[in-house]
Symmetry: C2
Subunit: 179 residues, 2 copies
DNA sequence: TTAAAACATGTAATTAATTACATGTTGAAA
DNA sequence: TTTCAACATGTAATTAATTACATGTTTTAA
């Protein structure tokens, strides 16, 4: 049972986001605060250099824009080559399992007894954390997918938001059962 | 909603594993193939140097052992200081959410329409992958926790195995619903 | 008996990711 | 009107993680 390593998936995520709409490095950075951030993390200090590499490689180009008086923006867009590269990646099999890193679960692993006094507070803390996240995701769903048309227009996005919601729901249920 | 970074959690996992029993770097490496591997990944090339650093720091010590004719082993054990360090880590709050990295989910995010011809095969591939993992984890549970006494003796371990099983179960259910 | 898999321990090179440093603009609220 | 948050883009330094290199022993199955 293999676990994935990192073979520059960030480049494909950037291509994918740019396939949805032309945008700046700043916009891309913000995207990781929403749904994709549930399944991949990246910060602006990774994103800006990666944009430069993708442009050098000919997968994207950019246009300079001035917002307001003199705020310089670089609005990136896919090239035909970038589109092909994205399609090739999406079409490839993904035969490896997800790499989860959960510090709380690790700590739990080292708790031997159900009577350990640390167990209760730990479970409560996590219950609150995940319940909050669940609420956040649910309101996000209501906001982003108010009707069937919105779902049809971004079906994959809808599926992964559903997945994230259910993940949190079951996490909370498991925590409650453990308590 | 913060996502965890990496602040050398590996050292604590090693301390935790050594708190369960004295063992070698090789044994620790193997441990990541089982339950903890579901929630953290590390390879021998991270583990051996980390063992050296922990020993220098005084958290662990080792004894040399010869297996068979001349196969040299280093069996590591916690020091009192290492025990304290482990307990302090377990007792700390874990206020950050899990960092998941799921390449398949990312690809899905970039599928716009429910009619995309790539969608069916993608979902089928993942269904098989996660169904296999579920079966594996269930047989692992039967093996490691054949009775209540085994559960009572390693309650945290039992909880996280249950969690991993349910995670896979719900993943498969979600995939089936998406299909 | 021999070949392959598993046991056992390391280091080196590369890539990925985090955290910190660095600078400037614009819009909104006090 | 000024100050704070958000917008916007980068680089540098450090740490974490992967992949490859490197070597040798023991057990198991063909």
């Amino acid at each position: 049972m293999d676990i994935i390593g990192q073979r520059n998936r960030l480049q494909y995520i950037i291509l994918g986001l740019l396939s949805q709409q032309d945008q700046t490095g700043y916009d891309l950075t913000k995207a990781f605060e929403h749904e994709i951030g549930e399944f991949w993390q990246a910060s602006h200090s990774q994103i800006y250099p990666q944009l430069q590499r993708l442009e050098t490689a000919g997968d994207i180009t950019h246009q300079d824009q001035i917002a307001g008086e003199k705020l310089a923006k670089k609005v990136y867009q896919l090239t035909a080559q970038g589109q092909k590269k994205l399609a090739a990646w999406v079409g490839e099999p993904s035969p490896e399992l997800t790499a989860t890193k959960d510090e709380f679960i690790l700590k739990l692993y080292f708790i031997k007894s159900a009577n350990d006094p640390r167990l209760g507070p730990m479970l409560q803390e996590q219950t609150q954390l995940h319940a909050e996240q669940l609420t956040h995701l649910q309101s996000r769903r209501a906001e982003v997918f108010p009707n069937q048309a919105a779902i049809d227009a971004a079906y994959g996005h809808y599926l992964i938001l559903e997945h994230a919601i259910e993940r949190e729901k079951h996490y909370v249920e498991w925590l409650n059962r453990a308590q």
